[in-house]
Protein backbone atom coordinates (compact mmCIF):
# COMPACT_ATOMS: atom_id res chain seq x y z
CA UNK A 1 0.00 0.00 0.00
CA UNK A 2 1.26 3.42 -0.96
CA UNK A 3 1.69 5.72 2.02
CA UNK A 4 0.57 9.30 2.17
CA UNK A 5 2.62 12.46 2.30
CA UNK A 6 2.39 14.27 5.61
CA UNK A 7 2.86 17.99 5.06
CA UNK A 8 3.82 20.14 8.06
CA UNK A 9 4.08 23.81 7.08
CA UNK A 10 2.74 26.97 8.64
CA UNK A 11 1.93 28.58 5.31
CA UNK A 12 -1.54 27.86 4.02
CA UNK A 13 -0.72 28.56 0.37
CA UNK A 14 2.31 26.29 0.50
CA UNK A 15 0.25 23.45 2.01
CA UNK A 16 -2.64 23.90 -0.41
CA UNK A 17 -0.41 24.11 -3.47
CA UNK A 18 1.58 21.05 -2.40
CA UNK A 19 -1.61 19.01 -2.01
CA UNK A 20 -2.72 20.22 -5.40
CA UNK A 21 0.58 19.17 -6.97
CA UNK A 22 0.62 15.80 -5.22
CA UNK A 23 -2.88 15.09 -6.46
CA UNK A 24 -1.65 15.25 -10.06
CA UNK A 25 0.48 12.17 -9.36
CA UNK A 26 -2.23 10.49 -7.28
CA UNK A 27 -0.50 10.93 -3.98
CA UNK A 28 -2.57 11.42 -0.85
CA UNK A 29 -1.59 14.16 1.53
CA UNK A 30 -2.35 14.97 5.13
CA UNK A 31 -1.61 18.51 6.25
CA UNK A 32 -0.71 20.05 9.58
CA UNK A 33 -0.31 23.75 10.23
CA UNK A 34 2.38 23.45 12.90
CA UNK A 35 4.86 21.09 14.44
CA UNK A 36 2.75 20.92 17.59
CA UNK A 37 -0.42 20.08 15.73
CA UNK A 38 1.37 17.25 13.98
CA UNK A 39 2.95 15.89 17.15
CA UNK A 40 -0.44 15.90 18.90
CA UNK A 41 -1.96 13.89 16.07
CA UNK A 42 0.96 11.61 15.40
CA UNK A 43 0.32 7.92 15.75
CA UNK A 44 2.43 4.88 15.02
CA UNK A 45 0.07 3.70 12.32
CA UNK A 46 1.04 6.62 10.10
CA UNK A 47 2.53 5.59 6.87
CA UNK A 48 4.50 7.32 4.15
CA UNK A 49 6.85 10.26 4.50
CA UNK A 50 6.93 13.71 6.10
CA UNK A 51 7.50 17.00 4.30
CA UNK A 52 8.59 19.20 7.16
CA UNK A 53 9.15 22.96 7.01
CA UNK A 54 12.37 23.68 8.88
CA UNK A 55 11.40 27.23 9.85
CA UNK A 56 8.06 27.51 11.60
CA UNK A 57 6.74 29.58 14.45
CA UNK A 58 6.45 27.50 17.62
CA UNK A 59 8.09 24.10 17.49
CA UNK A 60 10.71 24.22 14.73
CA UNK A 61 11.22 21.50 12.15
CA UNK A 62 14.41 20.39 13.86
CA UNK A 63 12.62 20.04 17.20
CA UNK A 64 9.83 18.03 15.57
CA UNK A 65 12.51 15.72 14.16
CA UNK A 66 14.00 15.23 17.63
CA UNK A 67 10.62 14.53 19.22
CA UNK A 68 9.78 12.01 16.51
CA UNK A 69 13.07 10.23 17.13
CA UNK A 70 12.23 10.00 20.80
CA UNK A 71 8.93 8.42 19.78
CA UNK A 72 10.94 5.95 17.69
CA UNK A 73 9.15 7.14 14.54
CA UNK A 74 10.70 5.70 11.39
CA UNK A 75 8.92 7.90 8.86
CA UNK A 76 11.47 9.45 6.48
CA UNK A 77 11.61 13.23 6.75
CA UNK A 78 12.22 15.58 3.84
CA UNK A 79 12.95 19.06 5.13
CA UNK A 80 11.72 22.10 3.27
CA UNK A 81 14.29 24.85 3.67
CA UNK A 82 14.72 28.42 2.57
CA UNK A 83 17.66 30.32 1.15
CA UNK A 84 19.63 30.86 4.37
CA UNK A 85 18.79 27.62 6.10
CA UNK A 86 21.58 25.43 4.78
CA UNK A 87 23.42 25.08 8.12
CA UNK A 88 20.16 23.99 9.73
CA UNK A 89 19.53 21.58 6.88
CA UNK A 90 22.98 20.09 7.39
CA UNK A 91 22.23 19.61 11.07
CA UNK A 92 18.96 17.93 10.15
CA UNK A 93 20.71 15.60 7.71
CA UNK A 94 23.28 14.68 10.33
CA UNK A 95 20.42 13.81 12.66
CA UNK A 96 19.14 11.35 10.12
CA UNK A 97 16.77 13.30 7.87
CA UNK A 98 16.07 11.55 4.58
CA UNK A 99 16.69 14.64 2.45
CA UNK A 100 16.11 18.35 2.19
CA UNK A 101 14.82 20.53 -0.58
CA UNK A 102 15.10 24.27 -1.02
CA UNK A 103 12.13 26.51 -1.58
CA UNK A 104 10.89 27.28 -4.16
CA UNK A 105 11.41 23.80 -5.60
CA UNK A 106 11.02 22.25 -9.03
CA UNK A 107 8.04 19.93 -9.09
CA UNK A 108 9.93 17.00 -10.57
CA UNK A 109 12.71 17.27 -8.05
CA UNK A 110 10.22 17.29 -5.21
CA UNK A 111 8.16 14.42 -6.58
CA UNK A 112 11.29 12.33 -7.17
CA UNK A 113 12.42 12.81 -3.60
CA UNK A 114 9.00 12.02 -2.26
CA UNK A 115 8.82 8.82 -4.24
CA UNK A 116 12.31 7.84 -3.09
CA UNK A 117 11.30 8.50 0.50
CA UNK A 118 8.13 6.46 0.12
CA UNK A 119 10.08 3.58 -1.39
CA UNK A 120 12.66 3.76 1.36
CA UNK A 121 9.92 3.73 3.94
CA UNK A 122 8.26 0.76 2.30
CA UNK A 123 11.56 -1.11 2.27
CA UNK A 124 12.00 -0.24 5.94
CA UNK A 125 8.52 -1.44 6.74
CA UNK A 126 9.16 -4.63 4.84
CA UNK A 127 12.33 -5.23 6.76
CA UNK A 128 10.61 -4.42 10.03
CA UNK A 129 7.76 -6.78 9.38
CA UNK A 130 10.20 -9.47 8.35
CA UNK A 131 12.05 -8.93 11.57
CA UNK A 132 8.82 -9.18 13.54
CA UNK A 133 8.02 -12.44 11.75
CA UNK A 134 11.44 -13.91 12.52
CA UNK A 135 11.15 -12.84 16.13
CA UNK A 136 7.78 -14.61 16.28
CA UNK A 137 9.31 -17.79 14.94
CA UNK A 138 12.16 -17.54 17.40
CA UNK A 139 9.84 -17.17 20.40
CA UNK A 140 8.19 -20.42 19.24
CA UNK A 141 11.40 -22.37 19.93
CA UNK A 142 11.84 -24.37 23.14
CA UNK A 143 14.62 -23.23 25.48
CA UNK A 144 16.76 -26.18 24.38
CA UNK A 145 16.19 -25.41 20.72
CA UNK A 146 17.18 -21.78 21.29
CA UNK A 147 20.36 -23.00 22.95
CA UNK A 148 21.16 -25.29 20.05
CA UNK A 149 20.45 -22.51 17.55
CA UNK A 150 22.91 -20.24 19.30
CA UNK A 151 25.61 -22.91 19.00
CA UNK A 152 24.78 -23.63 15.38
CA UNK A 153 24.93 -20.04 14.18
CA UNK A 154 28.28 -19.66 15.87
CA UNK A 155 29.50 -22.48 13.65
CA UNK A 156 29.83 -25.22 16.29
CA UNK A 157 29.84 -28.79 15.01
CA UNK A 158 27.14 -31.16 16.27
CA UNK A 159 29.73 -33.17 18.16
CA UNK A 160 30.94 -30.13 20.05
CA UNK A 161 27.39 -29.05 20.86
CA UNK A 162 26.62 -32.52 22.14
CA UNK A 163 29.57 -32.48 24.50
CA UNK A 164 28.89 -28.94 25.70
CA UNK A 165 25.22 -29.61 26.39
CA UNK A 166 25.89 -33.12 27.75
CA UNK A 167 23.52 -34.82 25.30
CA UNK A 168 23.98 -37.33 22.51
CA UNK A 169 24.93 -36.21 19.04
CA UNK A 170 21.72 -37.74 17.77
CA UNK A 171 19.66 -35.49 20.09
CA UNK A 172 21.50 -32.45 18.80
CA UNK A 173 20.70 -33.48 15.24
CA UNK A 174 17.00 -33.73 16.09
CA UNK A 175 16.97 -30.31 17.81
CA UNK A 176 18.81 -28.82 14.92
CA UNK A 177 16.31 -30.11 12.41
CA UNK A 178 13.43 -28.73 14.51
CA UNK A 179 15.15 -25.32 14.64
CA UNK A 180 15.55 -25.21 10.87
CA UNK A 181 11.94 -26.21 10.44
CA UNK A 182 10.44 -23.80 12.96
CA UNK A 183 12.58 -20.89 11.79
CA UNK A 184 11.72 -21.72 8.18
CA UNK A 185 15.39 -21.55 7.34
CA UNK A 186 16.30 -22.95 3.92
CA UNK A 187 19.97 -23.31 4.77
CA UNK A 188 22.49 -22.68 7.49
CA UNK A 189 23.34 -19.34 5.82
CA UNK A 190 19.67 -18.39 5.99
CA UNK A 191 19.59 -19.19 9.69
CA UNK A 192 22.75 -17.14 10.32
CA UNK A 193 21.18 -14.17 8.51
CA UNK A 194 18.09 -14.45 10.72
CA UNK A 195 20.20 -14.61 13.85
CA UNK A 196 21.87 -11.39 12.76
CA UNK A 197 18.48 -9.73 12.33
CA UNK A 198 17.67 -10.87 15.85
CA UNK A 199 20.94 -9.43 17.11
CA UNK A 200 21.96 -12.75 18.57
Amino acid sequence: MKGSVIIVDDDEAVRDSLCFLLKTVDLDAQTFTSGDEFLQNYDEEMHGCILLDIRMPGTSGIEVQKKLQELNCKLPIIFITGHGDVPMAVEAMQSGAFDFIQKPFRDQELLDRISQALEAHEADEEEASQEREIRNRFTGLTPREKEVMEFVVRGAANKVIAIDLGVSQRTVEIHRARVMEKMEARSLADLVRMSMQLDM
Partner: protein, 359 residues
Amino acid sequence: MVDAFIVSKENGVIERFNKSAEIMFGYSAEEVEGENMNILMAAHDRKHHDQYLSRYRKTGKKKVIGIGREVVARRKDGSEFPADIAVGEVHGPDGRRFIGLVRDLTEIREAQTQSFRQRQEMLNTSRLSTMGEMAAAMAHELNQPLSAIANYSAACLRMIKSGNHDPEVISEALEKVNHQAHRASEVIRRTRDFTRATETRREATTVGEIVAEVKPLAELDAHANNIAVDYRIADNLPEIEVDSLQIQQVLLNLLRNAVDAMHDVQPEHRVIVVSSRYTAPGELSIVVTDQGSGITQQDAEKLFNPFFTTKRTGMGMGLAICRTIAETHNGSLEFRRNPDRGVSFALTLPTRPSGQTER
Protein backbone atom coordinates in the same frame (compact mmCIF):
# COMPACT_ATOMS: atom_id res chain seq x y z
CA MET B 1 48.17 59.30 36.75
CA VAL B 2 49.92 62.50 37.72
CA ASP B 3 52.42 63.97 35.27
CA ALA B 4 56.06 63.19 35.91
CA PHE B 5 58.49 66.06 36.39
CA ILE B 6 62.08 65.64 35.30
CA VAL B 7 64.90 68.17 35.21
CA SER B 8 68.03 67.56 33.19
CA LYS B 9 71.21 69.44 32.48
CA GLU B 10 72.06 70.72 29.04
CA ASN B 11 73.83 67.45 28.15
CA GLY B 12 70.72 65.39 29.00
CA VAL B 13 71.88 64.12 32.37
CA ILE B 14 69.03 63.82 34.85
CA GLU B 15 69.21 66.10 37.87
CA ARG B 16 65.80 65.78 39.43
CA PHE B 17 63.26 62.99 39.21
CA ASN B 18 60.06 63.52 41.21
CA LYS B 19 57.78 61.03 42.93
CA SER B 20 55.36 60.71 40.00
CA ALA B 21 58.30 60.05 37.73
CA GLU B 22 59.38 57.24 40.03
CA ILE B 23 55.94 55.70 39.86
CA MET B 24 55.64 56.19 36.13
CA PHE B 25 59.02 54.77 35.17
CA GLY B 26 59.69 52.35 38.01
CA TYR B 27 63.10 53.87 38.77
CA SER B 28 63.95 55.50 42.07
CA ALA B 29 65.35 59.02 41.93
CA GLU B 30 68.77 57.77 43.16
CA GLU B 31 68.95 55.28 40.33
CA VAL B 32 68.47 57.76 37.53
CA GLU B 33 69.90 60.99 38.81
CA GLY B 34 73.19 61.36 37.00
CA GLU B 35 72.07 59.13 34.14
CA ASN B 36 71.26 60.29 30.63
CA MET B 37 67.57 61.10 30.01
CA ASN B 38 67.55 58.71 27.10
CA ILE B 39 67.29 55.63 29.32
CA LEU B 40 63.64 56.68 29.72
CA MET B 41 62.96 56.32 26.00
CA ALA B 42 62.37 53.48 23.60
CA ALA B 43 65.24 52.71 21.22
CA HIS B 44 63.84 54.71 18.32
CA ASP B 45 63.30 57.89 20.32
CA ARG B 46 66.57 57.47 22.20
CA LYS B 47 68.60 57.80 19.01
CA HIS B 48 66.69 60.87 17.98
CA HIS B 49 66.95 62.42 21.39
CA ASP B 50 70.72 62.55 21.29
CA GLN B 51 70.61 64.07 17.82
CA TYR B 52 68.07 66.69 18.91
CA LEU B 53 70.17 67.71 21.84
CA SER B 54 73.38 68.08 19.92
CA ARG B 55 71.62 69.87 17.06
CA TYR B 56 69.92 72.21 19.48
CA ARG B 57 73.22 73.02 21.15
CA LYS B 58 74.82 73.74 17.79
CA THR B 59 72.04 75.49 15.91
CA GLY B 60 69.47 76.48 18.51
CA LYS B 61 66.82 74.83 16.34
CA LYS B 62 63.96 73.67 18.51
CA LYS B 63 62.48 70.30 17.76
CA VAL B 64 60.81 69.64 21.02
CA ILE B 65 61.14 72.57 23.32
CA GLY B 66 57.97 74.55 23.71
CA ILE B 67 56.25 72.31 21.18
CA GLY B 68 55.62 69.02 22.90
CA ARG B 69 55.89 65.66 21.30
CA GLU B 70 54.46 62.23 21.53
CA VAL B 71 57.11 59.63 22.23
CA VAL B 72 57.38 56.04 23.28
CA ALA B 73 58.73 55.95 26.81
CA ARG B 74 60.44 53.04 28.48
CA ARG B 75 60.06 51.82 32.06
CA LYS B 76 62.79 50.26 34.17
CA ASP B 77 61.42 46.80 33.42
CA GLY B 78 61.76 47.43 29.69
CA SER B 79 58.05 47.82 29.01
CA GLU B 80 57.06 50.76 26.83
CA PHE B 81 54.18 53.20 26.87
CA PRO B 82 53.00 56.15 24.81
CA ALA B 83 53.78 59.45 26.47
CA ASP B 84 53.33 63.09 25.75
CA ILE B 85 56.25 65.29 26.73
CA ALA B 86 56.39 69.02 27.17
CA VAL B 87 59.81 70.52 27.54
CA GLY B 88 60.80 73.96 28.69
CA GLU B 89 64.21 75.44 29.34
CA VAL B 90 65.53 77.67 32.08
CA HIS B 91 68.81 79.49 32.29
CA GLY B 92 70.51 79.59 35.65
CA PRO B 93 73.88 80.81 36.85
CA ASP B 94 75.43 77.39 36.27
CA GLY B 95 74.04 76.85 32.78
CA ARG B 96 70.95 75.74 30.96
CA ARG B 97 68.41 73.21 32.31
CA PHE B 98 65.62 71.37 30.56
CA ILE B 99 62.41 70.75 32.42
CA GLY B 100 60.30 67.93 31.17
CA LEU B 101 56.67 67.12 31.97
CA VAL B 102 55.72 63.62 30.97
CA ARG B 103 52.15 62.43 30.66
CA ASP B 104 51.40 58.73 30.38
CA LEU B 105 48.99 58.31 27.47
CA THR B 106 48.33 54.60 27.95
CA GLU B 107 44.89 54.99 29.43
CA ILE B 108 43.86 57.72 27.05
CA ARG B 109 45.00 55.68 24.06
CA GLU B 110 43.27 52.58 25.32
CA ALA B 111 40.07 54.46 25.93
CA GLN B 112 40.26 55.94 22.46
CA THR B 113 40.96 52.65 20.78
CA GLN B 114 38.21 51.07 22.80
CA SER B 115 35.67 53.67 21.85
CA PHE B 116 36.73 53.51 18.20
CA ARG B 117 36.34 49.77 18.23
CA GLN B 118 32.98 49.94 19.92
CA ARG B 119 31.70 52.50 17.51
CA GLN B 120 33.04 50.56 14.59
CA GLU B 121 31.38 47.39 15.81
CA MET B 122 28.18 49.18 16.51
CA LEU B 123 28.11 50.72 13.08
CA ASN B 124 28.93 47.46 11.42
CA THR B 125 26.59 45.25 13.34
CA SER B 126 23.68 47.62 13.32
CA ARG B 127 23.95 48.31 9.63
CA LEU B 128 25.01 44.93 8.38
CA SER B 129 22.90 42.81 10.63
CA THR B 130 19.82 44.86 9.92
CA MET B 131 20.48 44.54 6.22
CA GLY B 132 21.45 40.90 6.59
CA GLU B 133 18.49 40.02 8.73
CA MET B 134 16.23 41.99 6.50
CA ALA B 135 17.53 40.16 3.46
CA ALA B 136 17.03 36.79 5.16
CA ALA B 137 13.56 37.68 6.37
CA MET B 138 12.62 39.01 2.99
CA ALA B 139 13.94 35.90 1.27
CA HIS B 140 11.84 33.75 3.58
CA GLU B 141 8.73 35.86 3.11
CA LEU B 142 9.10 35.85 -0.66
CA ASN B 143 9.81 32.15 -0.81
CA GLN B 144 6.38 31.26 0.52
CA PRO B 145 4.29 32.77 -2.27
CA LEU B 146 6.92 31.83 -4.85
CA SER B 147 6.82 28.21 -3.71
CA ALA B 148 3.05 28.20 -3.92
CA ILE B 149 3.15 29.74 -7.40
CA ALA B 150 5.71 27.18 -8.53
CA ASN B 151 3.59 24.32 -7.16
CA TYR B 152 0.26 25.49 -8.57
CA SER B 153 1.67 26.26 -11.99
CA ALA B 154 3.66 23.02 -12.18
CA ALA B 155 0.53 21.07 -11.28
CA CYS B 156 -1.51 22.92 -13.93
CA LEU B 157 1.10 22.11 -16.55
CA ARG B 158 1.05 18.46 -15.58
CA MET B 159 -2.72 18.37 -15.87
CA ILE B 160 -2.73 20.07 -19.24
CA LYS B 161 0.01 17.83 -20.60
CA SER B 162 -1.79 14.71 -19.44
CA GLY B 163 -4.71 15.83 -21.61
CA ASN B 164 -7.06 15.00 -18.81
CA HIS B 165 -7.95 18.27 -17.23
CA ASP B 166 -10.92 20.12 -15.93
CA PRO B 167 -10.85 23.80 -16.98
CA GLU B 168 -12.55 24.73 -13.75
CA VAL B 169 -9.83 23.15 -11.65
CA ILE B 170 -7.16 24.85 -13.75
CA SER B 171 -8.76 28.26 -13.54
CA GLU B 172 -9.19 27.94 -9.81
CA ALA B 173 -5.49 27.16 -9.50
CA LEU B 174 -4.56 30.08 -11.74
CA GLU B 175 -6.57 32.39 -9.53
CA LYS B 176 -4.49 31.19 -6.61
CA VAL B 177 -1.32 31.81 -8.61
CA ASN B 178 -2.48 35.33 -9.26
CA HIS B 179 -3.27 35.87 -5.61
CA GLN B 180 0.16 34.61 -4.54
CA ALA B 181 1.90 36.92 -7.02
CA HIS B 182 0.15 39.85 -5.37
CA ARG B 183 1.15 38.53 -2.00
CA ALA B 184 4.79 38.52 -3.13
CA SER B 185 4.60 42.09 -4.31
CA GLU B 186 3.06 43.06 -0.98
CA VAL B 187 6.16 41.63 0.74
CA ILE B 188 8.35 43.83 -1.41
CA ARG B 189 6.23 46.89 -0.71
CA ARG B 190 6.46 46.30 3.03
CA THR B 191 10.24 45.89 2.83
CA ARG B 192 10.51 49.18 1.02
CA ASP B 193 8.42 50.84 3.70
CA PHE B 194 10.77 49.39 6.29
CA THR B 195 13.85 50.82 4.61
CA ARG B 196 12.16 54.17 4.36
CA ALA B 197 11.30 54.03 8.04
CA THR B 198 14.90 53.41 9.04
CA GLU B 199 16.05 56.28 6.88
CA THR B 200 18.45 58.97 7.73
CA ARG B 201 18.67 62.01 9.83
CA ARG B 202 20.14 64.73 7.68
CA GLU B 203 22.30 67.43 9.12
CA ALA B 204 24.56 70.10 7.72
CA THR B 205 28.22 69.15 7.86
CA THR B 206 31.39 69.31 5.85
CA VAL B 207 33.56 66.76 4.12
CA GLY B 208 36.35 67.79 6.45
CA GLU B 209 34.31 66.88 9.51
CA ILE B 210 33.31 63.54 8.10
CA VAL B 211 36.86 62.68 7.15
CA ALA B 212 38.07 63.75 10.58
CA GLU B 213 35.57 61.39 12.22
CA VAL B 214 36.60 58.47 10.08
CA LYS B 215 40.31 59.14 10.23
CA PRO B 216 41.25 57.51 13.54
CA LEU B 217 39.27 54.42 12.70
CA ALA B 218 40.62 54.11 9.20
CA GLU B 219 44.15 54.59 10.37
CA LEU B 220 43.95 51.82 12.93
CA ASP B 221 43.31 49.53 10.04
CA ALA B 222 45.74 51.08 7.58
CA HIS B 223 48.66 51.35 9.96
CA ALA B 224 48.20 47.79 11.10
CA ASN B 225 48.92 46.89 7.47
CA ASN B 226 51.76 49.38 7.02
CA ILE B 227 49.71 51.53 4.75
CA ALA B 228 49.77 55.33 4.87
CA VAL B 229 46.69 57.42 4.27
CA ASP B 230 47.23 60.75 2.56
CA TYR B 231 44.39 63.26 2.99
CA ARG B 232 43.97 65.96 0.38
CA ILE B 233 40.76 67.60 1.41
CA ALA B 234 40.20 71.17 0.31
CA ASP B 235 39.04 73.35 3.18
CA ASN B 236 36.85 75.69 1.16
CA LEU B 237 34.28 73.11 0.09
CA PRO B 238 30.59 73.93 0.45
CA GLU B 239 28.58 72.20 3.14
CA ILE B 240 26.66 69.02 2.53
CA GLU B 241 23.46 67.88 4.19
CA VAL B 242 23.72 64.20 5.00
CA ASP B 243 23.29 61.49 7.57
CA SER B 244 26.82 61.78 8.92
CA LEU B 245 26.98 58.26 10.34
CA GLN B 246 25.94 56.75 7.05
CA ILE B 247 28.39 58.76 5.00
CA GLN B 248 31.14 57.94 7.51
CA GLN B 249 30.22 54.31 7.09
CA VAL B 250 30.54 54.56 3.32
CA LEU B 251 33.91 56.23 3.56
CA LEU B 252 35.14 53.74 6.12
CA ASN B 253 34.01 50.89 3.92
CA LEU B 254 35.87 52.32 0.93
CA LEU B 255 38.99 52.76 3.01
CA ARG B 256 38.74 49.22 4.33
CA ASN B 257 38.38 47.86 0.84
CA ALA B 258 41.40 49.91 -0.22
CA VAL B 259 43.44 48.45 2.64
CA ASP B 260 42.29 44.95 1.73
CA ALA B 261 43.28 45.53 -1.89
CA MET B 262 46.82 46.51 -0.92
CA HIS B 263 47.88 43.54 1.18
CA ASP B 264 50.28 42.26 -1.43
CA VAL B 265 51.70 45.44 -2.91
CA GLN B 266 55.24 46.77 -2.63
CA PRO B 267 56.03 49.15 0.24
CA GLU B 268 56.45 52.16 -2.09
CA HIS B 269 52.87 51.77 -3.31
CA ARG B 270 51.36 51.45 0.12
CA VAL B 271 49.55 54.75 0.12
CA ILE B 272 45.85 55.45 0.00
CA VAL B 273 44.81 58.92 -1.06
CA VAL B 274 41.57 60.45 0.17
CA SER B 275 40.84 63.57 -1.82
CA SER B 276 37.97 65.92 -2.42
CA ARG B 277 36.74 67.37 -5.67
CA TYR B 278 34.27 70.08 -6.36
CA THR B 279 33.01 68.31 -9.42
CA ALA B 280 30.23 70.56 -10.62
CA PRO B 281 28.13 73.37 -9.23
CA GLY B 282 26.00 71.86 -6.50
CA GLU B 283 28.02 68.67 -6.38
CA LEU B 284 31.21 67.41 -4.79
CA SER B 285 33.05 64.10 -4.54
CA ILE B 286 35.13 62.31 -1.97
CA VAL B 287 37.55 60.05 -3.78
CA VAL B 288 39.40 57.11 -2.28
CA THR B 289 42.30 56.01 -4.44
CA ASP B 290 44.24 52.85 -3.78
CA GLN B 291 47.26 51.35 -5.50
CA GLY B 292 46.11 47.83 -4.99
CA SER B 293 45.64 44.82 -7.14
CA GLY B 294 42.78 46.35 -9.12
CA ILE B 295 39.50 44.87 -10.25
CA THR B 296 38.96 42.62 -13.25
CA GLN B 297 36.39 43.53 -15.89
CA GLN B 298 34.40 40.49 -14.89
CA ASP B 299 34.26 41.48 -11.22
CA ALA B 300 33.62 45.11 -12.10
CA GLU B 301 30.23 44.28 -13.54
CA LYS B 302 29.07 42.62 -10.35
CA LEU B 303 30.90 44.86 -7.93
CA PHE B 304 27.85 46.58 -6.51
CA ASN B 305 25.61 43.53 -6.46
CA PRO B 306 24.50 42.35 -3.04
CA PHE B 307 26.14 39.08 -2.02
CA PHE B 308 29.03 39.56 -4.45
CA THR B 309 32.46 39.41 -2.88
CA THR B 310 36.03 38.59 -3.84
CA LYS B 311 37.08 38.35 -0.22
CA ARG B 312 37.30 35.16 1.68
CA THR B 313 35.38 36.64 4.57
CA GLY B 314 32.50 39.04 4.30
CA MET B 315 29.14 38.68 2.75
CA GLY B 316 29.46 41.07 -0.13
CA MET B 317 26.98 43.60 1.19
CA GLY B 318 29.46 46.44 1.74
CA LEU B 319 29.47 48.15 -1.63
CA ALA B 320 25.83 47.36 -2.27
CA ILE B 321 24.88 49.15 0.92
CA CYS B 322 27.31 51.99 0.21
CA ARG B 323 25.75 52.60 -3.15
CA THR B 324 22.27 52.48 -1.65
CA ILE B 325 23.32 55.04 0.94
CA ALA B 326 24.82 57.27 -1.75
CA GLU B 327 21.67 57.04 -3.81
CA THR B 328 19.32 57.79 -0.92
CA HIS B 329 21.36 60.97 -0.53
CA ASN B 330 20.69 61.78 -4.18
CA GLY B 331 24.33 61.09 -4.84
CA SER B 332 26.24 58.28 -6.48
CA LEU B 333 29.07 55.86 -5.90
CA GLU B 334 31.22 55.05 -8.90
CA PHE B 335 34.52 53.39 -9.43
CA ARG B 336 37.25 53.86 -12.00
CA ARG B 337 40.52 52.11 -12.75
CA ASN B 338 43.51 54.34 -12.24
CA PRO B 339 45.80 54.87 -15.25
CA ASP B 340 48.81 53.43 -13.41
CA ARG B 341 47.54 51.01 -10.80
CA GLY B 342 44.68 50.33 -8.42
CA VAL B 343 41.22 51.82 -8.49
CA SER B 344 39.42 54.92 -7.28
CA PHE B 345 35.98 55.07 -5.75
CA ALA B 346 34.19 58.39 -5.95
CA LEU B 347 31.33 59.17 -3.61
CA THR B 348 29.48 62.10 -5.12
CA LEU B 349 27.01 64.12 -3.05
CA PRO B 350 24.92 67.19 -3.67
CA THR B 351 26.08 70.25 -1.77
CA ARG B 352 23.78 72.08 0.57
CA PRO B 353 21.96 74.93 -1.16
CA SER B 354 23.62 78.11 0.06
CA GLY B 355 21.64 80.58 2.09
CA GLN B 356 19.76 77.79 3.80
CA THR B 357 19.61 78.27 7.53
CA GLU B 358 20.72 75.70 10.02
CA ARG B 359 17.97 73.61 11.44
